[in-house]
Every structure is written in structure tokens, then in C-alpha cells.
């Protein structure tokens, strides 16, 4: 066993590309989940009832029409009564006319119902996921969260638009047809029913086989497309490293795999229609064989035979649809399990019951013996205490992993401390309303996220109520105005694909403008200037200073000129503050800080 795993792992090490499949396949039926799904339909009771009523209209036609046709043949045509013909023809036309309205109503209502359910389910899922905290997002790649909100919810669409309502009407239709057939002629009814089990088999077993085989096709196709997407995005690297031949071989392998799977699925699928046809033909043959014999003995009429043939034909639709619903349910189980797993995940950071909104703060921050551990492992922070008076600037210094970012994550309450208290203006931040806290803090990170939309929209993200003038003013304050005006549409320039049109420095300037527009009392800069070139940084120094003015600020930076100006420098090592003080004070000693500064100096000299 071990060796098998190792070989597989060894293959994976060198795999040119690895695409994990992230699509739900199917699960056995689970009543609890079905109940939960049905409760979503329960939100629209009137739509449910109306849809059921409309479909019942359709059932009535499906049940009455063949009988009427049979009667026409026997009574009017066989009996040569032209007036009766007119009467029956008129009745049939009227019946079909009613059916016209029933069909309209059914299509409209079932779609309304289904789309409403899907919409509210997705809405619930999205707002729930959005309310989850960082411990949730840190553990999952963005792609897999996206798959659940989009693909898994869409997988339920068919079930809700067609499946649920139809399955009830289909059952009723089947029962109705069986009753009518038996009341017309028991022998013939029994004979016609012999093909029903075959129909069921085709509609469930063969269809399940077919569906599974298409799932394999879809999996192959989504890998193929994942690779294509990635190849296009990384094409410059591929061309630079002359990887075309290897990649072509890899792609052709995937493509051939897809071809094989497709042929296999198509082979199975091609059995479906002929299978249905042939079963129908066997049914008809049986019907005529026995029907004619009954006819010979006068126990049957031509019209009745035609009616029977039509009923037998009508059997297929409900059976087929029920089979489909069954299959949809199996798929829905897998998707809904994944959806409910998210809906049942509780946020790690949550407002306490009765949490009070934080009033407008001055910006006094205090950490008191704060401890924190990610995933119950080693402590990331171990007894941190410090105080920053309102308007003070604090620089956090230390190596990667020393605890600087954790302090920031706790201050913005992305996580909550495992021990100790963080107070803003003397209020424990874990006891106050989350949004009221965060809306008074702004965070500028090393990697800025740019949303698709205009530059104006992106800056306005800091404060949606800001006027255009205020946005421009904010951009001007951080020296972003110049480059924005040089873009073809100025502030109205559309940025796409995560801001790829902008350089890293330009993106950072936009995030500064965003922060200044938000006008927070507490500002956090986490390596915010690392990707800006020196020249630009020099240009924005003034803007940056304005950004910091009068606010309590926490700055994580390597650039000494930024650190030097801080009123308090905290030096972190292994989750502890090992030194604290002002630049001058710390430089007088011979501790960690002085050592760090001197080390940096050496690189330049």
C-alpha cells in the first residue's frame, strides 16, 4: 500500500499541471436534506399551490383526450354520425384550448417558483459566507468558495424549476392513466402494463449510467478548460521558457482523454432514444396482438384500441420525468450537502448578543496581555501589552512571522485574542458591534485588491457616499491624481481582471486614496509601500504624511525613514515585544532594533 501511494506521490511531484476536481457528483437520498430544500419552497406557498393547480389542468387533458378520441372513432365515425363528429371534435378542441392556458400558467408559475427559490438560496448562502470570518477564508482557496455559491446552487435549478412540482403531477397522471386503463379493459390494461417496468429501467438505470458517463466528460472538460484558462494567462512564461512542446503533449493527452470519455458517454446516450422507441413498439405490438384478438370476440372496439395506444404513449412522459427527478435529487443531495455545510458554519468572529455600536472614537488603542494562536498551535502572540494614545503613530518592526501582522489582524478584529483584551477608547473591541469598529479603521495592505469597475468606483470604495469631487480630492491628496488623469478615460477608466492594467505602485496609490476617503481614526499600513518605486514613494511622501496626520496609525514597514518618524516603535520577536521606544532611544542602546538598522545599512553601503 505504502509503495503505491509513494509512486502516485512521485508522479504528482513532477505532474506538469494538477487540476483538482471541485464538482459535486452525487449522494444517496437524505430525508433531512430534502426537507431543508423543501422548506425553501415553503417560502412561496401561493406559488406552489398555483403551480400545482395549473399542472392539474394539464393532467385532466392528458387523461381525457385519448378517451375522447377513442369515443369519436367508435361512436361518430364507426356509427357514421356527422353531427356527433362535430360535437366530439368541438369538445376536443375546447379541451385543447383549456390546455393552452393551463400550459401557459404552468410554465410561468413553475419557473417563477424555481427561480425564486434559487435566488433566495443563493442570497442566503452569499450573505452567510460574507459574514464568516478570516479563519474560514484562510483555509479555503477562493475558487472552491466560488464553486459552491455558483455551481452548486445552479445544480439545484432544474430540480426546483421542473422537478418538484412535476413529480407530483406526474404521479397523479400515472395513477389516473392506470385507473382509466383498468376501468376500460382489465386484460388489455394488464398486457399494456408489461412494458412499464422496462420503461422504468430505461428511465432510471440507463439514464443514471448515461448521466454518470457525462459527469466524467464534464470533469475532463472542466480540467481542459482550467488548463486553457491558465495557459492563456501564463502564456508569457510558457513562451519565455519554451515549454510549448511539453504543454502541447499534455494538452493533447487531456484532449484525447476527453474524446474517449465523450465517445463512451455518447455511445451510452445513443441507446436511450432507440431504447424508448423500441419499448414503445413492443408495447404497441402486444397491444395490437391481444387487442385484435379481443376485437375478434367483440370485447373491444377500434376506437378503444386507439385510445389504449394513446394512453400507452402518454405513459412514457411521466415515467421519464419521474426518472429524471430521481436523478436530479441524487445530484441535488451532493450539492445541497456542500451548500448546507457552509450555511451551518459559524463565524469565528461574531457580534455578542446585545453588542453596542462603538460611538465615534478618538483612537486610543490599548493591548493588554494579548495572546493568540492560529489553529491551536504555537502561540503567534504571547502576552502583548502596549498603549497608543489617540493620534500617535506606532511602527511594528521584526522579521516575517514575528507577530506584526497578527497584531493588525486582532486590532481590526479579523480574529479575536485567545486571552487578554484589546481596548479602543477604553472599550473592549470584542464587546462592541463589529461593523461600527471596522468602519472607523482603515487598512492598506501590500497587495491591493482592485475591483472591476471605474477608478472612481474603486476609490469610492472607502466611502460610498463620497461625491466625485471628494474622490478627486482624496486622489490628489495622495498624489494619485496625475497618473489617473493620464489614463484614457481619467477617473472613468474601467479597470478589469483585478486591475491588471495598473502597475503595482498605481494600485497602491488607489488604495491610499481609498483609505484617506474613508477618513478613519485608526489607520493601518501593512507593508503598504513595499511595491512602490522610490521615485513614486518620494512623490507620495507628502500624501502619506497627510494620510497619517491626526490619526492613530500602525505601520509595518522596512523602510527606515517611515519607521523613524513613529512615536512608538515596537520590536517583535517570536510573538513578543522585545524592545520598545522611540528611534533615538532605541538607537542609543545596542539591542535588536539597532542591530536591524545596521544590517539594513550594510546593504546600501
Amino acid at each position: 500500500m505504502v509503495s503505491v501511494n509513494e509512486t502516485r506521490a512521485a508522479d504528482e511531484l513532477r505532474a506538469p499541471f494538477i487540476y483538482r476536481d471541485d464538482d459535486a457528483i452525487e449522494r444517496p437520498l437524505q430525508m433531512e436534506q430534502i426537507g431543508r430544500l423543501l422548506r425553501y419552497m415553503g417560502r412561496y406557498p401561493r406559488l406552489v399551490w398555483a403551480a400545482l393547480a395549473a399542472t392539474c389542468g394539464g393532467i385532466a387533458v392528458a387523461l381525457a383526450a385519448p378517451y375522447l378520441i377513442g369515443a369519436t372513432i367508435d361512436t361518430a365515425i364507426g356509427g357514421a354520425h356527422p353531427t356527433a363528429l362535430l360535437f366530439y371534435g368541438g369538445a376536443l378542441a375546447a379541451l385543447y384550448g383549456l390546455n393552452f392556458f393551463a400550459t401557459r400558467a404552468r410554465i410561468r408559475l413553475t419557473n417563477w417558483l424555481g427561480q425564486n427559490v434559487i435566488r433566495s438560496l443563493r442570497e442566503d448562502l452569499f450573505s452567510h459566507v460574507q459574514g464568516l470570518s478570516f479563519d474560514f477564508f484562510d483555509r479555503r482557496p477562493a475558487g472552491s468558495v466560488l464553486v459552491r455559491i455558483m455551481n452548486d446552487v445552479n445544480a439545484l435549478q432544474d430540480l426546483f424549476t421542473n422537478g418538484a412540482v412535476n413529480s407530483i403531477t406526474n404521479l397523479l397522471t400515472l395513477v389516473g392513466i392506470v385507473i382509466i386503463m383498468f376501468s376500460l379493459n382489465i386484460q388489455l390494461a394488464l398486457i399494456s402494463m408489461t412494458v412499464v417496468p422496462v420503461m422504468f429501467l430505461i428511465s432510471t438505470k440507463l439514464r443514471a449510467l448515461i448521466r454518470r458517463s457525462w459527469q466524467h466528460v464534464r470533469i475532463r472538460l472542466s480540467r481542459l478548460n482550467a488548463h486553457l484558462n491558465e495557459s492563456i494567462q501564463g502564456m508569457r512564461v510558457t513562451e519565455a521558457y519554451v515549454r510549448q512542446d511539453e504543454n502541447q503533449a499534455f494538452f493533447e493527452g487531456m484532449n484525447a482523454d476527453y474524446l474517449t470519455m465523450f465517445r463512451r458517454a455518447m455511445f451510452l446516450s445513443s441507446f436511450f432514444a432507440p431504447g424508448v422507441d423500441f419499448t414503445g413498439a413492443v408495447g404497441s405490438a402486444l397491444l395490437f396482438w391481444f387487442g385484435v384478438h379481443l376485437l375478434m370476440h367483440g370485447a373491444m372496439t377500434v376506437g378503444l384500441l386507439v385510445a389504449f395506444a394513446t394512453y400507452l404513449g402518454n405513459f412514457w412522459t411521466p415515467i421519464s420525468q419521474l426518472g429524471q427527478v430521481y436523478n436530479q435529487l441524487l445530484v441535488a443531495m451532493a450539492s445541497s450537502e456542500r451548500i448546507f455545510e457552509y450555511l451551518d458554519t459559524r463565524a469565528g468572529v461574531l457580534d455578542r448578543p446585545g453588542a453596542q455600536a462603538l460611538p465615534a472614537i478618538r483612537g486610543d488603542v490599548e493591548f493588554s496581555r494579548v495572546e493568540f494562536a492560529y489553529d491551536d498551535k504555537k502561540k503567534a502572540l504571547d502576552g502583548i501589552s502596549f498603549r497608543a494614545a489617540a493620534g500617535m503613530s506606532v511602527a511594528l518592526v521584526g522579521h516575517t512571522g514575528a507577530g506584526k501582522s497578527t497584531v493588525i489582524n486582532l486590532l481590526a478584529r479579523f480574529y479575536e485574542p485567545t486571552a487578554g483584551v484589546i481596548r479602543v477608547d477604553g472599550v473592549d473591541i470584542c464587546a462592541c458591534d463589529l461593523l461600527s469598529l471596522r468602519s472607523q479603521i482603515a487598512l492598506v495592505m501590500q497587495e491591493t485588491f482592485i475591483f472591476s469597475g471605474t477608478i472612481m468606483d474603486n476609490i469610492r470604495y472607502g466611502r460610498p457616499s463620497a461625491s466625485d469631487e471628494e474622490v478627486v480630492e482624496a486622489a490628489r491628496a495622495v498624489c494619485a491624481d496625475d497618473f489617473i488623469r493620464q489614463l484614457e478615460d481619467g477617473y472613468r477608466t474601467e479597470v478589469r481582471e483585478r486591475g491588471s492594467r495598473l502597475s503595482m505602485g498605481q494600485r497602491q496609490l488607489i488604495s491610499f486614496a481609498r483609505a484617506i476617503l474613508a477618513d478613519p481614526r485608526i489607520l493601518i499600513l501593512d507593508e503598504a509601500t513595499a511595491s512602490i518605486d522610490t521615485h513614486t514613494e518620494h512623490l507620495i511622501q507628502k500624501g502619506l504624511r497627510r494620510l497619517l496626520e491626526g490619526r492613530t496609525s500602525f505601520v509595518v514597514a522596512h523602510r527606515l525613514s517611515t519607521i523613524r518618524e513613529a512615536a512608538l516603535i515596537l520590536v517583535f520577536e517570536d510573538g513578543r515585544v522585545v524592545e520598545r521606544g522611540t528611534h533615538d532611544g532605541l538607537m542609543r542602546g545596542a539591542g535588536r532594533y539597532r542591530h536591524l538598522v545596521e544590517a539594513q545599512y550594510r546593504f546600501l553601503a
Partner: protein, 589 residues
């Protein structure tokens, strides 16, 4: 037709599948009409004429015809699909091949989303027509000919009255599909937008939460969710409007056959068996009629799709590799001879001349847009110079075999791109056969080994879109290791260490000096600490070289280099006078 002719090399080799499929299709349609015909015989001869002995033949005829029809139907459907998928298999490979050789200027203009929609939706539309659309059109005409022939042979009056409503059905069907396609396109578009909204929300979750913009995001999502809902309801609305009519017309045909046919039977112009047979043929004709719109659409869609695919396939190759280009290994001498480069009518480089001896390091400094990236992009022929020439080893890059040239020039791009695979395979991207020792060595030199070793899965860790999220600095170091492993004669670092801290960058540049001994390095950076040891520092401004020289020389003259140095050096003043000594030394030396 023109479009299909240009794409014929992909489907012609598989034409035998199509030919067999069509033969079987003709048989399927013909056999399908056996059922109404036999039904007619059963009623006319067995029931009316009481020839009960013949029943066994007709009933077994039904079974045999059904079996034969089933087999033919299976064959025509399967072979048609096989034809389609094989044609598209070759086409997809060819498209991928083409995309892998498009010049950088091509990717500057196209959007990933657009290419993806061609490679998915368009390819599928094209396949659908080859696989089923063509067959359906043939089937449509066969049915019309066979079905009407049989009906006319039985009774002209009844056939004409049945036919009276067919044009109406065809009209409704065509109109329906004409509206349905754009409506489905809207569904896809709104789904795409909703997808983007959710994706951005999840990826930008730090930004969303830190600005407490959850409510705003919720609104954005809700409007996208509603738009998707509306688009779906609009499609349902079309179904609601058109489908009941198509159903009604089909049903009314039944009433017509029953009424007119019944009257003809009563009047003795038609036998009962013929009437029953008419019923049976009716469904045979109505079904394809209601699909007429769909058929016409698969044709127009496939032509439009084929055209978009040809756009890719027939895009001009602008990076021709000479037939017998130079392939010898280079040592790394590089020369730019009076090079100018224009993109979209704008000059990115103006008359650049520069020479780098093998084993030297050239550093490039300049503000954003000064032309640094453009300059180094000419080396591996990502772009070709508009004027002048770039020489590697004294040979014009355009005289080099393209593969040989690129495998000797390794570039680390400004934005590091990692593929969805292991860290190992990402580092070994340029040399897939590299040993673990080589990969580890490259990682060590790029200062990446330490953090990779700390990951629970080490070099097996999956990265890329769905893999572990790495920091910008970590990605840059993996990209750097990739370049080191490629063992190039010329290494180009385009702002490749901007996201790593100064200490790490310092240690990387020291190990690079060792690795690149005897070979040539071009480095673009903002930090003086990275640039200062270069043999030649070149300052670019608006596509021109405005300053060049060593660290000491450039410090001695006013210009961008010195002002950047001053800015970065100001950091050091805080050491209180101490740093001045070494700087004076550098100026003198």
C-alpha cells in the same frame, strides 16, 4: 459555406463517419414510416376485412421494423457525434498549438475571457452543428419527402388540410428560436457578471471586511442575483409565450385529422386504417417542424463560431524563426545597436545602443513607463525592434533559432505567475526533467528553500489558483528559482524581487552573482542596494538612455540615480553621521 471550407482540413479526414451516419439516417427515417404503414394494414386488412391470419405478419413486421430502426437510429446518432467530436479534437489541438506561439503583442490586446469563450462556447457550437445539426437538416427534408409522400398516397384532401397549419407552426418555431438565443445569451452574460461579483468578493474579502463594506457588497451581489433571476424569467417568458402555441397547433392538427378524416371515413372516401395511420404520421412531422427554428440557429451559430475560431487560427505569425537559425550555446554577449521600438504608433524605445560583455551585469533604472521592460523584452524576441538590431553573441536575434534563443535567455517577470501544480514542477517549468537536487539548489539560491521546507508538503505543495496562497515575495522567489534552474546565458530580472524584503533581496543578489559568474544579467530594480554592484548602470527616461556608468560615476553626477540614492540613503542618516564615510569612499572609487 466559406467558413466551413476553410475549416475542412479538420473534418474532412473523418468524413466517412458522416457518410455512414447519413446512410443510416435515411434508413431510420424510412423504417420509421413502416409503423404507420403497418398500422394501416392492421386496421384495413385485419380488423375491417377480418383477415386475422395476417395479423402475425404485421405485428412481427412492427417488431422487426422497430428493431431495425432502433439499430439504424443508434448508428446514425452515434456516428454523427463521433464525426463531430473527432473534428473538434483536431481543431482544439490546433488552436492550442497556435495560441502557444502567438507573439506577446497578441496577448497585449486580447482578453482571457474572450479567448476562453471562443475555446469553449464557439468550439461547442461548431461541434454541435457537425455532430447533429447537419443530420437534423437532412432528417427534416427526408421526413418531409417520405412523410408527405405516404400521406398523399393515402388521401390528398386530408393531407392538404393537415398541411394547412404546418406553415403556422414553422413560423412560430422560427420566431421563437430567433428570440430564444439572445435571451439565453443574456442568461449567460448575467451569470458571468454574478460570477465575477462573487469571485471578487471572495478574493477581496480582506478589503471588504476592513472597510466594513459588507452591506455594499451584499447590494452588489443582490443586483447581480436579481439580474440573473430576471434573465431566467425572461427565457421562461418566451417559453410561456411560444410553447403553448406550438403545443396547441399540434393538438389542433389532431382535431383536424379527426374531424376532416372522420368525415371522409363516414363519406367512404377514406378507410379507418388510413385515418389511424394519419394520426401516427402526424407526430412524425410535427416534431421536426417545431425544431425548425433550432435547426436554423445551429447553422447560423456554427458559422459565426467558425469565423471566431478562424480568427485565432489564421492570425498572422509574427515571430518567424529562421529555417536554419543559430542554435549554438551562447556565452552571453549582448548588444543593442541603435534600437527603436514602437507599439501602437508610440515610441517605447528611441535609438538605444548598449553593449554587455559576457559575465557582466547591466542594471536598469527609470520611472514607470521609461522603457525598461520594453528594452529587455527584445532579448528573447517577445517583441522585435522596429529599427536597429539586438545581437546575442554577435548574431542578430532574428537570425537565431527561436527556441535556442529563448532557452538561453531566462526572464523573471514583474508579476510572477505560478501554474496549478506542485512547487517542484513550477520551478522545473523550463527543465521538466531536472532532478530534485537541482530544484533544491535553485530554490536555495533564490532564497526560497527555507520557506518551502517549512511547508507541510514541501516541494509537493500545490500552488496556483486553487492551491495554497503564497505571499507576493514567496511567489517571486519561486519564479526566480525557475529562472535559475533554466541555467541561462542571459538572465533578465524585471523588478523580480520587489516584494521581498531588503535583507532577503541582498542575500539573493549575492548568490546570483555567484550563479551568473561568466554570464550576463540584466536587472531592473528600484533599490539602490540591488543596482549598485552592476558593472553598468543605465538610466532610462522616455525610451532614451539618459545616464550610464558605474555606481560611483552616477553618484557623482546629478540625475535620477543620485536623487533615488539620496532618498534611500536618507534612511541611513538616522545612524548619525556614521554612513557618510563609506559613501565618500564609493565616490572616490
Amino acid at each position: 459555406m466559406e467558413i466551413f471550407r476553410r475549416l475542412q482540413s479538420f473534418y474532412r479526414p473523418h468524413a466517412r463517419y458522416l457518410a455512414w451516419s447519413i446512410v443510416l439516417l435515411v434508413l431510420t427515417t424510412a423504417l420509421g414510416l413502416a409503423y404507420p404503414y403497418l398500422l394501416r394494414l392492421i386496421v384495413n386488412r385485419v380488423i375491417e376485412k377480418k383477415q386475422y391470419g395476417e395479423l402475425i405478419f404485421f405485428v412481427s413486421g412492427i417488431l422487426i421494423a422497430a428493431l431495425a430502426k432502433g439499430a439504424c437510429n443508434f448508428g446514425q446518432q452515434y456516428l454523427g457525434q463521433v464525426f463531430g467530436i473527432h473534428a473538434v479534437y483536431g481543431l482544439r489541438n490546433a488552436l492550442y498549438h497556435k495560441l502557444n506561439r502567438q507573439p506577446f503583442s497578441y496577448y497585449d490586446k486580447v482578453h482571457t475571457g474572450d479567448l476562453m469563450s471562443r475555446m469553449t462556447a464557439d468550439l461547442d457550437a461548431f461541434r454541435l452543428f457537425l455532430a447533429a445539426g447537419f443530420n437534423s437538416i437532412v432528417n427534416f427534408f427526408l421526413l418531409l419527402v417520405f412523410g408527405l409522400g405516404l400521406m398523399f398516397s393515402m388521401n390528398v384532401t386530408l393531407t392538404l388540410s393537415v398541411l394547412s397549419m404546418i406553415p403556422l407552426l414553422a413560423f412560430v418555431a422560427v420566431r421563437f428560436d430567433a428570440l430564444l438565443w439572445p435571451a439565453y445569451r443574456r442568461v449567460r452574460q448575467s451569470l458571468g457578471k454574478l460570477n465575477t461579483a462573487v469571485q471578487e468578493n471572495v478574493m477581496g474579502v480582506r478589503t471588504v471586511k476592513s472597510f466594513a463594506r459588507e452591506a455594499f457588497e451584499q447590494d452588489k451581489f443582490t443586483s447581480g442575483n436579481n439580474a440573473y433571476f430576471d434573465a431566467n424569467i425572461r427565457v421562461a417568458g418566451l417559453w410561456k409565450t411560444f410553447f403553448p402555441y406550438m403545443e396547441l397547433i399540434g393538438n389542433l392538427e389532431v382535431v383536424v385529422v379527426l374531424g376532416v378524416g372522420g368525415y371522409l371515413v363516414i363519406a367512404g372516401h377514406l378507410s379507418l386504417g388510413d385515418l389511424v395511420a394519419f394520426f401516427s404520421i402526424l407526430w412524425y412531422i410535427i416534431a421536426p417542424m417545431s425544431q425548425l427554428g433550432y435547426l436554423l440557429n445551429t447553422w447560423t451559430q456554427s458559422v459565426a463560431a467558425g469565423e471566431r475560431l478562424l480568427d485565432i487560427l489564421e492570425a498572422p505569425d509574427t515571430v518567424p524563426s529562421p529555417a536554419a537559425g543559430r542554435t549554438d550555446p551562447a556565452r552571453g554577449t549582448v548588444e543593442f545597436r541603435d534600437v527603436s521600438l514602437a507599439y501602437d504608433g508610440q515610441l517605447a524605445l528611441r535609438r538605444i545602443s548598449l553593449r554587455a560583455e559576457a559575465g557582466s551585469t547591466v542594471a536598469l533604472l527609470g520611472v514607470t513607463g521609461a522603457g525598461k521592460t520594453s528594452l529587455v523584452s527584445l532579448l528573447p524576441r517577445f517583441y522585435d525592434a522596429t529599427e536597429g538590431a539586438v545581437l546575442v553573441e554577435g548574431v542578430d536575434v532574428r537570425q537565431w533559432d527561436l527556441q535556442a534563443l529563448r532557452s538561453q535567455v531566462a526572464v523573471v517577470f514583474q508579476e510572477s505567475f505560478l501554474f496549478s501544480t506542485t512547487i517542484f514542477a513550477n520551478i522545473a517549468y523550463g527543465r521538466p526533467t531536472a532532478s530534485m537536487q537541482d530544484v533544491e539548489r535553485a530554490a536555495r539560491l533564490a532564497d526560497a528553500a527555507e520557506f518551502i521546507d517549512r511547508l507541510p508538503d514541501g516541494y509537493r505543495t500545490l500552488v496556483g489558483e486553487r492551491g495554497l496562497g503564497l505571499s507576493g515575495g514567496q511567489k517571486q522567489r519561486i519564479a526566480l528559482a525557475r529562472a535559475i534552474l533554466a541555467d541561462p546565458a542571459v538572465l533578465v530580472l524585471d523588478d523580480a524581487t520587489s516584494a521581498v524584503d531588503m535583507e532577503t533581496e541582498y542575500s539573493i543578489s549575492r548568490s546570483l552573482r555567484e550563479v551568473m559568474a561568466g554570464r550576463t544579467t540584466f536587472v531592473i530594480a528600484h533599490r539602490i542596494s540591488t543596482l549598485k554592484h552592476a558593472d553598468q548602470i543605465v538610466v532610462l527616461d522616455e525610451g532614451r538612455i539618459v545616464q550610464r556608468g558605474t555606481h560611483a560615476r552616477l553618484l557623482a553626477e546629478p540625475g535620477l540615480y543620485r536623487s533615488v540614492y539620496d532618498m534611500q540613503f536618507r534612511d541611513q542618516e538616522l545612524l548619525g553621521g556614521q554612513p557618510l564615510a563609506p559613501v565618500a569612499g564609493a565616490m572616490n572609487g
